[in-house]
């Protein structure tokens, strides 16, 4: 029987060895580009409002119904301390799995799928504690900086008072 090879990296154009490739979904918040590893992304959907949760942190926008499951939405702009996003229908929620949980990140727009070698990931410069806390690395793509989001940290509600 013929076995067809549908390996995902079959169509990969870059010369990066598959095991070394880091594929990111890149999205923008306030003109700045951030990325998360593509394997964590479950779904991308347009902003359609969320049910607010009482007495939670500013960056928790509320919860949405994702095919029968209740998923919390984190406002990335607010998470970075820049105030809440004023979302419109063009804003986007990136649904991700973090550990065993599903969470949504509210961002301005999804821009690209970026493939970079893992070796090209830079450490976040020491300095601002927000940066080192919420980012787990920096890569360069098309001459622009892409901040790698530390999902555990961004979606944690344990630290940082609202």
């Amino acid at each position: 029987m013929d076995v067809l090879d549908f390996r995902e990296d079959g169509a990969e154009e870059t010369a990066i060895a598959p095991q070394d490739a880091l594929q990111l979904i890149a999205f923008s918040v306030d003109e700045q580009t951030y990325g998360v590893e593509i394997t964590t992304v479950r779904e991308i959907r347009a902003w359609n409002g969320a049910t607010p949760l009482p007495n939670t942190r500013e960056y928790v926008r509320g919860v949405i119904n994702l095919r029968g499951t209740i998923v919390p939405i984190f406002d990335l702009r607010a998470r970075f301390g820049d105030g809440r996003t004023e979302p419109t229908r063009t804003h986007v929620v990136v649904v991700l799995s973090v550990g065993s949980k599903w969470v949504g990140l509210l961002v301005d727009a999804v821009s690209d799928i970026v493939t970079v070698p893992r070796s090209a990931v830079h450490a976040v410069p020491e300095g601002n504690s927000t940066d080192t806390e919420l980012l787990c690395g920096i890569v360069t793509h098309n001459d622009r900086m892409v901040g790698l989001i530390d999902l555990e940290a961004v979606t944690s509600t344990a630290s940082a008072a609202a």
């Binding site: 049910t51 949760l53 209740i70 919390p72």
Partner: protein, 726 residues
């Protein structure tokens, strides 16, 4: 989960079933049921527990069940009379076995010498029976398995393996179960499957020992298996591991196979030695199904799950010789037609059906007169959908429904222990154990019920002396009953004790500030005070009831699952506590309200009434807290928009007050913008993807796809116990 873990889990599940059966059978014997049958059942149950315990190395359990079993054997043989003391001893022993099983399951240690007294009593009784025998002193390894030598035709092919320098390419395994293998609770199929997990497995069964139906014992194993395991990395140790639970109950031969050493051991090699099932069938002139002729079909026992092929293979002589009549096949036919399904899978179905019910009712609500006139076909379709949905819901709920027996069954033991501790003479009557409730409700029922029974035994029933003085029978009776009434289940705990001492309860309640000094509650209100938080303390506490929880816990537990508790008492004649429980927790009846444009839902069971703000009398306390004056009572007010910090709430009159009942009979007036209506919802967890949110019990998805939050009324109380974020 490894295979061993699965075996363990299954073993413990079986143990709890067996323990329940033991309890039932022994109680039956005590009440004069047919002893021979029941005794056999008891013996089998204890034996099965022992068998598994041995396999897993639960030594304490083996030792105890072994002595227990020995005594039971003497009783079964008629050497020890099953008098009341012996039955009582057996019941106590069942409790001890339950504790030992629990200890084995949790991996905890029991105090030194636990159950020793009972064990000594067994031995004494067994000794008195005149045949102590080495068996009684048997150590841990002493399995009570009849060793039936089985002729094994190993044949020349199984000649001793030549030690080879390189790893074998596979293994040839001969597995010859002893006749009693099945009785130890082992299942050859499970073992063979486990073996199959190690590589490519070819199995053939030797059924030549299979007797005719008239001699067929469904609990004996007659088959032998030859297996070839190829394409495997497994070594001898791993194969032995598969059989480690049954090594004492079978003959096992594991021979390495080397490529090209003996071509006879190729895949189809063994088949001429041990024709497989299909070949056998062909030989017997039988198509695989159905068995030849109506007579054969009648005689054929239902395939026993333990040995699928054994029961079906009916070579000519067996059919011809089965003059024993249809009864020969009856025991297997009447066997359990059940499957074990992970609860999670059932839960998933239940949840989805819950969604379906809600979607269906949402659709039904959309039908108005216009639609009825213009689309009669659509409306008819919706009606059929409604019926089917309801049928589906009932059917699915029936899968998860369990008889309350599983909870009731723990009570006899409790009552026995309470009788011993309090020195009272107690009798427990149970009724309606077959009443079925959703498993999720049953799980929540155990604690409250235990507490109520304790309360009855401890506070309700008098001492024997007091009872005699009051002209009552010396033995106090606690009656436990369950019945279905519409969509609720009534569970009643009743005793014929002294009743609630209202004077004392009221005095105590006043002293503790539960009741205002100038307030005179009705008798019923006083009775219900026993559920008030912080009430059952101090004098009311004994070492039995006072385990740090009061009857208020009963109330809050029952409330949490949307139930209610009512108590009625007659001085000197007894107390009756009635639990009203929902049939299921899958769907919750709620009222939908809106605050600042957001929907919230409140469980209908906690709502007392709703009223418009224009008709409500509010007052303001010096602290600024508002209170609602309602028929002479003052109720704290919580404005949800303020409490939740929601902008855009309505101002002024025209809003609504939802009067709720919170934990411990306290009331709470919630101010909302709008009351939208009642409906059923499916409860969704916020914790699954997020965390606990203060004053929110969960979420639910409304017909429009939006999430509505379910309010936790207890968590909303101004100075109530605010649960901290998990």
């Amino acid at each position: 989960m490894s295979d061993i873990d699965i075996f363990r889990t299954v073993y413990f599940e079986e143990c709890s079933e067996l323990l329940q059966e033991l309890e039932t059978l022994l109680s039956g014997i005590a009440e004069g049921d047919d002893q021979a049958d029941a005794l056999n059942g008891v013996f089998r149950a204890v034996h099965s527990i022992k068998g598994g315990a041995g396999a897993f190395g639960f030594d304490a359990l083996v030792t105890f069940t072994h002595s227990f079993e020995t005594l039971l054997d003497h009783v079964r043989q008629g050497e020890v009379a099953p008098g009341p003391e012996v039955v009582a001893l057996c019941l106590r022993a069942t409790d001890i076995v339950a504790d030992l099983v629990m200890a084995a399951r949790e991996g905890t240690d029991l105090p030194e010498g636990f159950g020793e007294a009972e064990r000594a009593a067994f031995e004494a009784l067994s000794m008195a029976a005149g045949s102590p025998g080495a068996d009684d002193e048997g150590g841990l390894e002493d399995f009570d398995i009849d060793f039936t030598p089985v002729a094994v035709d190993i044949g020349a092919r199984h000649a001793a393996p030549e030690p080879a320098p390189e790893a074998p390419s596979g293994w040839s395994i001969r597995f010859v179960p002893h006749a009693r293998l099945l009785a130890t609770g082992s299942d050859p199929l499970v073992l063979i499957r486990a073996l199959g997990g190690l590589g490519r497995l070819t199995v053939s069964a030797d059924t030549t020992d299979l007797p005719g139906l008239e001699a067929f014992d469904p609990e004996a194993s007659y088959c032998r298996w030859s297996m070839t395991l190829s394409e495997t990395k497994a070594g001898r140790a791993e194969i032995e591991e598969v059989f480690s639970f049954v090594e004492d109950a079978c003959d096992l031969e594991i021979v390495p196979v080397f490529d090209a050493i003996d071509p006879a051991w190729s895949e189809d090699g063994p088949e001429d030695a041990f024709p497989d099932f299909a070949a056998l069938m062909a030989e017997a002139g039988l198509a695989p199904s159905p068995p030849a002729g109506p007579e054969a079909a009648d005689m054929a026992p239902e395939p026993a799950p333990e040995a699928p092929s054994q029961a079906v293979v009916l070579p000519g002589p067996a059919v011809a010789g089965s003059e024993a009549g249809p009864s020969a096949g009856a025991p297997a036919r009447g066997g359990l037609q059940t499957i074990r399904v992970e609860l999670e899978k059932v839960d998933r179905v239940v949840n989805m059906v819950g969604e379906l019910v809600i979607t269906q009712s949402m659709l039904a609500q959309q039908v108005d007169d216009t639609i009825r006139d213009r689309y009669p076909e659509l409306v008819r379709g919706l009606e059929v959908l409604a019926q089917t949905t309801r049928g589906l819901q009932d059917a699915v709920m029936a899968i998860r429904a369990q008889p309350v027996k599983s909870v009731f069954q723990r009570m006899p033991r409790l009552v026995r222990e309470l009788a011993t501790k309090t020195g009272k003479s107690l009798r427990l009557d149970m009724e309606g154990e077959g009443t079925e409730i959703d498993k999720t409700v049953i799980e929540q029922l155990s604690d409250p019920l235990t507490h109520m029974v304790r309360n009855s035994a401890d506070h309700g029933i008098e001492t024997p002396a007091e009872r005699i003085a009051a002209g009552k029978p010396e033995t106090g009776t606690i009656r436990l009953s369950a019945q279905q009434s519409g969509s609720t289940i009534l569970v009643v705990v009743e005793d014929d004790g002294r009743g609630i001492d209202r004077g004392r309860v009221l005095a105590l309640a006043r002293e503790r500030g539960v009741v205002a000094p100038d307030h005179t509650p009705t008798d019923e209100q006083i009775d219900n005070l026993i559920f008030a938080p912080g009430f059952s303390t101090a004098e009311a506490v004994s070492d039995i009831s006072g385990r740090g929880v009061g009857m208020d816990v009963v109330l809050s537990n029952i409330r949490r699952i949307g139930g209610s508790v009512q108590v009625r008492s007659l001085a000197g004649r007894g107390t009756r506590m009635t639990l009203r429980l929902p049939l299921t927790l899958a769907v919750l009846d709620v009222m939908v309200v809106s605050v600042a444009g957001h929907p919230y839902v409140i469980a209908l069971s906690s709502i007392i009434e709703t009223l418009e703000t224009g008709r409500a009398e509010f007052s303001t306390l010096p602290s600024g807290e508002r209170i609602l004056r309602l028929r002479g009572d003052y109720v704290p007010v919580v404005d949800l928009s303020a409490r939740f910090g929601l902008a855009g709430a309505q101002k002024g009159p025209g809003r609504f007050v939802v009067l709720c009942e919170a934990e411990g009979e306290t009331r709470l007036a919630l101010v909302v913008d709008e009351v939208i209506g009642q409906q059923q919802v499916v409860i969704k967890s916020l914790e699954e993807n997020f965390e606990h949110v203060e004053a929110i019990a969960g979420g639910t998805i409304l017909g429009d796809g939006n999430v509505a939050l379910i309010l936790d009324v207890d968590g909303l109380r101004p100075n109530g116990p605010r649960r901290s974020a998990a």
